[in-house]
Symmetry: C2
Subunit: 152 residues, 2 copies
């Protein structure tokens, strides 16, 4: 008999009706996942956020800092320091926007893409741990529902 692994041990208080509160469930699962992610990404001197930015810088979508801020639900000033750090490490570059010279497009360097490729594997591993209690179908279903809630 194999017991399913879960991220956190089931607590007595989960019986309360707040155990069905979406906000709390999101916060808890996100908190648990962040610990795993940051641990996994620490090997590459990245955190969840710098990894997210690096990922988007690798995506080919040529995001501006404003788009990064909106997409990551962060203040533009927080993007500045995150990009500063990645740029200082040579993983990312700022380029002036083509149509709008106020905007700065963030793209990954060759080195950045190399680091990202390895970090991504680590992040995927930590996601598997986080969702170990879910089957593949359930994981896909969860992602689909989250996406739908956010973007319809």
């Amino acid at each position: 008999m194999v017991t399913q692994k879960t991220v956190v041990e089931a607590p007595r208080l989960a019986a309360a009706d707040i155990g069905n509160d979406v906000g709390l469930l999101l916060a808890k699962l996100h908190a648990a996942g962040s610990v795993l992610n940051n641990k996994a990404l620490g090997e590459f001197d990245l955190k969840e956020r710098s990894f997210s930015i690096l990922t988007l810088a690798c995506s080919g979508l040529e995001p501006t800092q404003r788009e990064l801020a909106d997409f990551l639900s962060l203040d533009p000033s927080q993007i500045v320091s995150l990009v500063d750090e990645l740029e200082g490490r040579g993983l990312v570059e700022r380029a002036t926007g083509k149509r709008d010279r106020r905007a700065k497009i963030v793209t990954a360097t060759k080195e950045g893409r190399k680091v990202h490729a390895r970090a991504r594997e680590a992040a995927e591993g930590s996601e598997r741990v986080q969702l170990a209690a879910l089957s593949e179908e359930e994981t896909a279903e969860l992602k689909a529902l989250l996406r739908k809630a956010l973007w319809g």
Copy 2:
């Protein structure tokens, strides 16, 4: 033709593969929900966290501060100030644990239960807004998946 409301408008960057990253999806939906929740709860001078504590204090489960900290993924010292504030407002009381006199059990006062009843309605309304793009079945499915991921 009724267009489904979503919490955030669908962004260009959602096309990137990080748009399927569970950590990011959780963070975004939680962030969007927090804004709604705190706005709704502000009417009662509560935030997500103080509301969570008040809810558990109303639950009859007689949680200790340590249990609150574990369940809410907060540091014990953060519970202290949150309970301090609720206690100062007369919504909550500390009682010495029965079996363990080190522990403090947090229970709601009559006034606390009154406030909670009204705040709860506001919170439920804000949850409906947050998940407006999901049907009732999908909402239930989402909650079930989150619970399963956390506690198996």
